[in-house]
Structures are given as structure tokens and as C-alpha cells.
Symmetry: C2
Subunit: 250 residues, 2 copies
Amino acid sequence: MINLPENIDKNSYEPAYIQIANFIRQQIAKGIFRPGGRLPSESELRKNFNVSPMTVRRSINLLLDQGVVDTIQGSGTFVRPIGLDRVTFHLDEFHDIFKETENTKVKLLEVGIERADHSISEKLHINNEDRIILLRRLLIKDLEPMVYHEEYLIYDPLKPIVEAEMEVTSLHGLFHNTSKSDLKRGELSIEATTLPEYIALLLSVPENSPAFRLEHIFYDFNNKRISWGNFFCRGDRFRFRTEIGFATDI
Amino acid sequence: MINLPENIDKNSYEPAYIQIANFIRQQIAKGIFRPGGRLPSESELRKNFNVSPMTVRRSINLLLDQGVVDTIQGSGTFVRPIGLDRVTFHLDEFHDIFKETENTKVKLLEVGIERADHSISEKLHINNEDRIILLRRLLIKDLEPMVYHEEYLIYDPLKPIVEAEMEVTSLHGLFHNTSKSDLKRGELSIEATTLPEYIALLLSVPENSPAFRLEHIFYDFNNKRISWGNFFCRGDRFRFRTEIGFATDI
DNA sequence: AAGTGGTCTAGACCACCTA
DNA sequence: AGGTGGTCTAGACCACTTT
């Protein structure tokens, strides 16, 4: 049995399974448990920390979910070597803009009812010339325009929920997801693009500046598409960061 | 108590806690459990499915990790309304290129030892004029150049691990993370940019075409930076997708 | 006081892998 | 056969919220 000197504080506010998971993570960060190597078995950990099987099991499950280790039944638990295959980017930065409402404002450039042209009717699965609600907004942070947003909502005169849906698909609703909504799911994609003149003007950058285009389609609980739109984010102001591997301090 | 007609199959190969979690997810997708609404309590679920507390607990924990529900101690478990605040993009597509080695090849454009200029020494925390290894590669899929990669590795004549590190930081090592490596962690960031002439030429696209720039810095187990580099990914060939909310079919 | 989520125990049994 | 991960039980106790 491997020597596992450290012990856990059973009187801590921190649950035992968190402490054990953190201990293992630290050993990895220190290089004591090496990538590709095997961890002490669950029964060894159980004995060392004097906890029940379920507790050490939860610790391993936690590390498993976080992609820190791999388990092979009957064989052992192994430290995952780092790789680019599990890289994920969170749109935190994008989200943060809307958290602090102080220096941030949403400028409504346009709202109105129009007739769907070909590209829109195709995206929303409706007919040409059907009525749609058009929204165009500018998101400004610290007096600087950061994001241009245009969105098309299906206009259904039979349903008086239009206002509710507008609120739901509004920026506020999307980011501070407090309200009960009729949105069931959404499909998002992000690509690199360059800005056409009219958007570049609004964002105070030169034409053809680089930008992220974040496209979104939302569905209601009948699986019907209810909105389509794009966020154009200035490439010089948006950079999404992430980390892989094992940080030393937890 | 809410009527929960369905039951689980205790003889299934599928663990009870998975079945229960899937059941709840289905109810949400069907619109029976609505966003913002409360789920049946754990004791109700326990009685309904005739399982122990720990089992139903695991189900809820699973949904919690996946961002499907929120729990408030003493109050209940609630269905998370969808929002953009938890959107994450996985670089699957990027990774997939390197999985299928058939129609994919890596063309090594240049490899050699150089002296670090200002920008490089700053990134790698070394001195100007220190020796570095320069790598320039082109990733080709289906005869089409997709990604240009340039990377700078610290050259340390005292350590003969240079070759090993080169393998580790090679594309193969990064994506098929099988080998034990000395890489401890990495910092990644992605931004939208436009291609300078020399890269645009290599990628067979016009100058100033949009592209993703994926910057990476890797650290060894002494927390020393060992490499810095950038992937330039053609904007017209890369689009990262993701979904939020509740899919109907599981 | 009653109900809710949250942690933990001390066993049991199973499936799987390595000898 | 013995060790490993994986699931599950039937209770217990705690912290918190609601009434």
C-alpha cells in the first residue's frame, strides 16, 4: 500500500468526498500521481481516510466527471494525460457583460414587423412573406459598442404570447434565466467572420474587421422554431480562455 | 404526491440512477416538468421507484452536474430555465480532423533552432536570443489545407528530453493523449482574426480571410513554460456547434 | 414541526481484469 | 482466486426552508 500521509478533517464544513478529491488533485498537480499512472485503489483510499466505500466512490466520480481521471473496471483508476480532445470554451466573458448592468446598456436600434424573405423563412421553417418580428440591438459596455445583435421572431397573431416571448428571447431573459420560459431548447454555433460595412459602422471598427458570429435558433415546447438570430462580437474585444490539465493551487 | 406512472426496470443493464435521471429528463422534454418548476421531492421519487435514498440522490446529482436542474436546500429541486450563461463549445470538430488519419496529413513546413525574438521570449519567459525550436506545420484534410500551426519550444541542451517533448507537443501527442507526458497543464484562448498574407497563401484563401486563432501555452511539472504556439483555422471551414436545453429523444 | 436537500455509514452483491 | 471498479440498500444525522 502506498503511503498516503495526509488525512482529512472530518469536522470541516467541507464534505469528506470533496476533501479526498482535492487531495488526489493536489497529488497529481505535485507530480506524485503522474499522468497515465494508476491511483491507489478505492479500498486503499477507504482505509487510509477511514471512510465508507460510497464516500471514496463519490470522490472518484467527481474527478471522473471533471475529466481528471479515467476508470477501467477491474483494472484501476488512472490519471488522464492532458490533451486537446476535451477542450471546451465557456462563454463566460460574453455572459459577464450582461451581469454588471451598471456600465452596460442595450440600445434598441429597431423593432418592427416585417415580411420574411427567403433566408429568414428558411431558417424559421415558415413561408415566404409570413410576418416576423425584427429586433436589432447594440450592446454597449463602458460607452464602447461591443456586440451587434439581430434577431427574427415568428409573429403569430393568434397567440398573444408575443410579448412574453419577446421578453424571453430578450437579452435579459437569455442571460439571467430566472423566469419561467416557453423556450425548450436552442442550437448555437460560432464562427469567425469579417464584418460587413453596416455592422462595422455600428461597432465603430473598420469594415472587414474580424469578429465572432454567434448564431442561435430557439425552439418552443412543441419543437417549433420561434426565433433565429446572430450576435456579432468584435474580434478585438472578445477572447475566450480556458485551461487544461492540473492547476497547482485549488 | 404527484402521479408518477412510469417505473424502472431493476433487471435492466442500465443502472437505476441512470433510468431515473432519464425519466426526469424526459418529463422535462415533454413539458410535464416545466422550466422554473419544482420536481417531485426526493422522498417522493424514492417511494415511487422503490429505491434507496442514495440512489435517487445520485440521479439528482447527475442532472445537477449536467446543468439540467438546480437544487435549493430545504426548498426543493427545480428545472433550470435555459439561458446562454452556461453555453460551452467543445472543440470536437477540431479534434475529429486528427482522428481519421486516412484523409488527413500533417505537412511539416519547417523545423529548426532559432534565437528568440522579443515576442517569443516574453511568451516563454526566457531571455532574448535564447535558443528555441521552431515548428511550422500545415494540417491537410481531403487534400485541402485546413489549419496552419506554428509553435516555439524551449531548447535546453542540458536536458536530452527535447525529442520526447517534441513528441509530446506534437499534434499526435496532443490529440491522442495516450502517452505519459511531462505536460502538466496548458492555457488556451481563441479569438477571431484575419489572416496575414503568408498564412493565407499556405491555406489557399485570400489575404485577410477570417480565421480562428487558437493560442496555446504549455507548462511542465515544474510550472515552467515549455512551449507557445498558435493554430490558425480557416474561418470558412470551422464552425463550432452546441446545444442548450432539453432534447426530446435521449 | 414538518418537509426538503446533503452527507455518510457498513455492509452486500455484481462485473471485470490479471494472475 | 483475489483485486479492482460499480451499484445499491436501509437506515442515520445534519442544515436549511416553509408553515
